[in-house]
Symmetry: C2
Subunit: 505 residues, 2 copies
């Protein structure tokens, strides 16, 4: 079915134009809300046309630089972040990103990046903290006769962008499976305080909203056709390190069930994106678990398998993030998955109220943690942005269990993921309950900082770095300074400094 | 009315005994849940008797040290934390504390301290993360005929302790105003996931619970009479620095109202305890505001004044923290205050769901913040515990606005509250929206780290430290390292190190 055939609203059909024409409607300095979350459902042709326009404009002698501010759901893809960053077309970007060219600009100081909790972005926009949104650029799977929109492979902040923007540009992508229709749950009960009401969701399977986005046709200034696949990064088979980490987590779950601290169906799981989370999902699928639920941001390949096998009864998320094989599996068996997957806007998928009520088990990757349990999820050596905090803070703070995972070493052993003091803090000692590396698992619940240090060094640090960590801790303990959180201030960040100077911690 | 006359349940009257006898019922190694929150409603006689017993036992040659684990609501007073810490009777304590002897033991390594978010303590206890609670020691204002309990001047975690403990010791304090009866709202709708339901509270004035604690009489092993006042720290009149900070906040509120980003009744305010928050309350009371509401932890003197003047229509909290004059005012006009004050358990007063829904304006003190907006609320020079995180994290993360305040300098100018890198992080850059010192206010919403640095240095740092902060930032910016969050790792903590070594940052 062509994109054209998916535009059923006569008024909006009249606004069909080329990507180039649509890109001309975006003025310099605009705040643009774009669809897209972890490489799914982002606009695929207008950003490229805009980048080309910017490139030409900026090449003119004496011209003012043409830049826009880009607000998204989370990371997108080269066709959006990449092309715009390439031409230096982004003044400020928020929130989570993972594009290499974007990252380079953020870290060389030519792009401002605002790293917000994903659950808070729409509140920031609604309350005017970020200024006025000028234009929303949203990919949809179709436009219905009444002008309402069939969401695409992610929802992210689209509901908010459509409501907040003065003007809307729609990309209708015929590559998106039309059977996505009916899988979404767009909640229209949000409000700003003091008018907020309880969100009446008590189970990941609950539906509390609509299938479609409401969209006033008069705000739509352009409709553009596209026919391109989502980013669909290839799936990497899990390696031995990931499998070991997964096994530690599975053992932990089994012990918690034995102790009566987790039900045998666990609690709704949230899983970050990547190799290790996928290995954990694989492990859960191979294990004794049945009828688990997921209340998470992203549906990965591993979750499709679990839904098919019955390990998982339902998965609630805000986006897909599938490999090409995952997409194939999904498309071929969409009728099976339709009943078991619900896509929500990210202010609901990551909502503090729901994370707390449902009792999320949050599993997220980290860059490093220190011996006292503070976690760095975002910064390389304290200064360089990797991707962003994403939803990890939403789930770790308000969920039931927060588990942070990483291999114990990086760069062939030049870097220890366990350090005396993290070079940046995204999750404080108050929010981190469990640390896991391939070496083992540190259960920090109810421990004082000194107790945590021994637990983390002994169970999580790589043996090559363990003696140096013990040595740091013991010397700090006997330094005559405070012994609540013993530190040697002159050495606390020396591991990172050494790596910067000598290439080895 | 004597304490005896307040014990109306015949069964429980039979369990009356001295504090000494009751203290003998607490075994070594016990996990003891004690009432008490910011110096209100803590048990006043049994802890002293227990301390005396511990002193004698520990003086015996060859005896095993007698210690207990103390779980409270928040800080108590010398009669509890002080006497038990004095005799080295506390193995582990949680959460927030402010006792000087306790603090000394925490920092010299002879007491373990677990610093949890106040909203999470009861969840930790319920889910078994802390082990089994053996005994609850709870101050009440009276015992009703059916054995239910009239709560005292704080609720804190008492509902949870009474439910969780195998055995309960009650202190009936005749000094507590008996008219407290009916001011409490004890919510019995809590559950562990997956059985949690929405908390149907949409306004700080809403009542969703009971006046009394349910308490199975068979669990009560002792009832003890007491007749002693709460800690009631003297109220210090606000100084010029506090008044300046308050004025910056008031100006900010007025601007936000003008911009349509806050309603003219603001949103429910949460205010930390102390000099500066009291000055802000005074300022609000003197200003144009009417019908404000408070959804906070603690009712301070300033809030009584605001309730009386009509600036505040209702105050919801979990405890009082009044000066002797405040108590006098409260007792003399209790009929006026009864209708306007609601005391709740701390898992409700600080609940993420409610902080988010109501849109709390969170105002809390800090020890220091760095140029990128990370806040340290707990650690002196990175190693020594001051008090603890308290509820600041609950409100700052999930509320609508998080405001952190401090004078720009401490120790007569030897310490700058604005530093290149904080020596400990309790509130990350993602959670801090506004920083205020007497120098000015930095509005960090929607700013990248580099933009935040200029905002904080220019508006909040003391002029004596401003050049050195600019110098650090500029050199970091040109260091050739990452420019997202520019740092010089070898110098980032040098200000703290210099203070430790030379007594001056």
């Amino acid at each position: 079915m062509s994109a054209n055939a998916r535009i059923l609203c006569p008024t909006l059909k009249q606004r069909l134009m080329t990507a180039e024409k649509a890109a001309e409607l975006i003025p310099a300095g605009a705040n643009v809300g774009m669809s897209g979350f972890t490489g799914a459902g982002y606009p695929k042709v207008v950003p490229g046309a805009l980048a080309e326009r910017i490139r030409k404009l900026n090449a003119r002698e004496g011209s003012e630089p043409f830049r826009i501010n880009v607000w998204t759901g989370a990371s997108t893809a080269p066709e959006l972040d990449g092309v715009l960053a390439e031409v230096d077309g982004i003044e400020m970007r928020l929130p989570f990103q993972s594009d290499p060219i974007c990252r380079q600009r953020i870290n060389n100081g030519t792009m401002d990046y605002v790293d917000l909790h994903l659950s808070e972005v729409s509140q920031y926009a609604w309350s005017g903290f970020l200024g006025k949104m000028d234009i929303a650029l949203i990919e949809v799977a179709g436009i219905r006769e009444d002008g309402s929109l069939i969401p695409s492979s992610s929802i992210g902040n689209n509901k908010t962008w459509i409501e907040q923007a003065d003007k809307i540009i729609l990309e209708v992508n015929s590559k998106q499976n039309i059977k996505l229709e009916g899988m979404h749950d767009v909640y229209y009960g949000t409000a700003l305080p003091p008018d907020r009401k309880p969100i009446m969701l008590t189970d990941p399977a609950d539906r509390i909203g609509e299938f479609y986005f409401e969209c006033p046709p008069e705000k739509v200034i352009a409709v553009v056709e596209s026919d391109a696949a989502d980013r669909n990064s290839p799936f990497k088979a899990s390696d031995e390190t990931s499998q070991k980490i997964a096994q530690h987590i599975l053992d932990f779950f089994e012990r918690e069930i034995e102790l009566g601290r987790l039900p045998k169906e666990l609690l709704p799981i949230q899983s970050g994106v990547g190799n290790i989370p996928n290995a954990v999902l694989e492990g859960l699928d191979a294990g004794p678990f049945k009828n688990l639920t997921a209340f998470t941001e992203v549906i990965q390949d591993g979750m499709l398998k679990m839904l098919k096998s019955g390990t998982l009864s339902v998965a609630s998320a805000t986006a897909f993030s599938l490999s090409p094989e995952g997409i194939k599996e999904f498309d071929e068996n969409i009728d099976l998955y339709r009943d078991k997957i619900i896509l929500r806007q990210q202010d609901i998928s990551n909502h503090p109220e729901l994370a707390r009520r449902l009792g999320i088990i949050a599993m997220n990757g980290m860059i490093e943690c220190d011996i006292y349990g503070n976690v760095n999820s975002t910064h390389i050596m304290g200064t360089r942005m990797m991707n962003g905090i994403g939803g990890s803070g939403d789930f770790a703070r308000n969920g039931y269990l927060s588990i942070f995972v990483s291999p114990s070493i990086a760069k062939d052993g030049a870097i220890s993921s366990i350090v005396p003091m993290v070079s940046h803090v995204d999750h404080t000692e108050h929010d981190v309950k469990v640390i896991v590396t391939e070496q083992g698992l540190a259960d920090l619940r109810g421990l004082s900082p000194r107790q945590r240090a021994r637990e983390i060094i002994n169970h999580c640090a790589h043996p090559d770095f363990r003696p140096a960590l013990h040595d740091y801790f013991e010397r700090a303990l006997h330094s005559g300074r405070g012994m609540h959180t013993p530190h040697l201030l002159g050495e606390a960040l020396s591991w990172h400094q050494r790596y910067e100077e000598e290439g080895q911690m």
